[in-house]
Symmetry: C2
Subunit: 370 residues, 2 copies
Amino acid sequence: MEGFDPKIHGLDEDFVLTKLTKMKGCGCKVPRDVLLQLLQTFKTDLVINNDEVDIGLDSCVIPLRHPGLRLVQTTDFFYPLVDDPYIMGRVTCANVLSDLYAMGVSECDNMLMLLGVAVDLNESQRDIIVRLFIQGFKDAADEAETKIRGGQTVRCPWLLLGGVATSVAHETEIIKVDRAVPGDVLVLTKPIGGQVAVNSYEWLKNKNGKIEELNLDESKIRKAFKQVCEQMSRLNRNAAKLLHKYEAHASTDVTGFGLLGHAENLARVQKENVEFVIDKLPIIEYMDEIADRMIENGGEGFRLFEGRSAETSGGLLVALSERSAKAYIDELSSLDHAPAWIIGRVVEKSDDSVARIVGDAIRQSIISPL
Amino acid sequence: MEGFDPKIHGLDEDFVLTKLTKMKGCGCKVPRDVLLQLLQTFKTDLVINNDEVDIGLDSCVIPLRHPGLRLVQTTDFFYPLVDDPYIMGRVTCANVLSDLYAMGVSECDNMLMLLGVAVDLNESQRDIIVRLFIQGFKDAADEAETKIRGGQTVRCPWLLLGGVATSVAHETEIIKVDRAVPGDVLVLTKPIGGQVAVNSYEWLKNKNGKIEELNLDESKIRKAFKQVCEQMSRLNRNAAKLLHKYEAHASTDVTGFGLLGHAENLARVQKENVEFVIDKLPIIEYMDEIADRMIENGGEGFRLFEGRSAETSGGLLVALSERSAKAYIDELSSLDHAPAWIIGRVVEKSDDSVARIVGDAIRQSIISPL
């Protein structure tokens, strides 16, 4: 997966997809507090109850005119964060679908593809890139057993990639994500550190001096980049199906707001007052070292250890009983050929639900399952 | 509606929304032939049959796992084409909904709002503009009796506005749009010339010398601009409901590809070989004169008379029996307080279906119903 070669595809040697944007992947999101403030206009429409889910969670769930049926729907769009348009297509589709999967909805009835074609591209570049992107998007949709039937394509200064996933589901197909109880454990299905992996690989390609400055190991960065491409392309669909089998009490997917950001969002909607306490951080191998060195040099290290580093097409974060968790992890690992971990627990709280990462959280270095 | 005053809303006097993009409204679309070529990857998914509709038409219609139900879905996004963010919100919502309405689907079960917030905006500008935009979008959604529950907001070099409209409809709620027969007439529910109105108003505001060069009447341009804002904000919902009552045989909405472009798209999917012959062009008052003067000066006049001038949130183009057409127009006019016209007829054709505008088409100048 590493080392997209523009020449093989008929592009100039120095063609770089990620130069077509100044923001990467889910890092482009407008901050949550700004968003919520701007969305106050909708406040009367965004009631949290049994039937509808708040805009900060993953998909909207809408009662239909037809008994027992719900419309489950999500949209996402962002910018290229790796240079291979085919991989970007897969990642975009996986990332959009993930919001359905986070609700336990494993059947997507329709995908729309959203595409902004960068105005700086000449026609030949445009055709090559868009074709590869569409192929990747379609392959991921095929794997998800859904079809792309519709979309919109506009010209845009940056290459803009996205989609809309829709399912018309029986209420029984949807996991209630607000039932976490003290005693539950928290499971994470992909390691964090994606933003570090993508950015350190950029430094390497751009030869901007960062690698030398931080004295980093190039081969480890290349390995991490392959790993993050694999995990961003991997669908959370098996993880979604197993939510039902193992009776998950809460779930969300980890994307632009980082592990702790999404844990906080999930905590906030719980019916009981609970605290999500995260005491283990599974991190893509070597990414913790990079973050450490950045922090030693006075940087923020992408706020990785604070759980604020953005993930694109990250894993599911699930609350379920401890016994179920072990079986969930075992079965998921055997289906996806990739590990998952118990990263914390749900404890009682006397007032508003929150999430936190303990100060001495164990860092676990995760080697690519490839 | 004319004359958005930035100062009233706390913006700098010289703040101009449409400067946040280099493309306007539906004019930003990637040309249809390019699009179809790029979408070849999907060809196996885009079968035209009784259940599914081609990507070039307005909404995708997808059979669901639940008997008798169809998922009808559409998405659109584009850039500001008028400077009033509130009006742009209304227009964006109306334009997205229009693709459902073109299929006769009058009940939208959910709207997603898509928003790219221009990176050049400072926080105060951003908050003012986004709030006004959302308010306009929401007011149009209220009028359509639907709700906005979900969406995505990213930073983007240009201000990007869009939405996704979804309906889960009984098959009986959906008009079969491929049943035009010789003898039918063609009805149009909003005049063309929107692109001319929006652009000539820009010339006036920008004082770029075009007004003097073409010797244009400022007050007529201002009047046309009000008219186009009104008609772009007007929902095609009543027009959609009446498709059922008057048993329309075919329908589409007129947007980025212009009147003839959309007539061609509609002709192409008809079951019978037919020709759509357009012999009348209802044009927003004075816009024909502007186009004429541009052509006299060696320009293309937005290709208005060729039916290629882009419309944003344009009217429906409907084929139905002549008797029904008159009743359709009467009832629609009384509901919307705005006229509609028979603009042509459906005739036999021995081979592939096409659409054309006759050389001596009558130009009808349409005065604002306001």
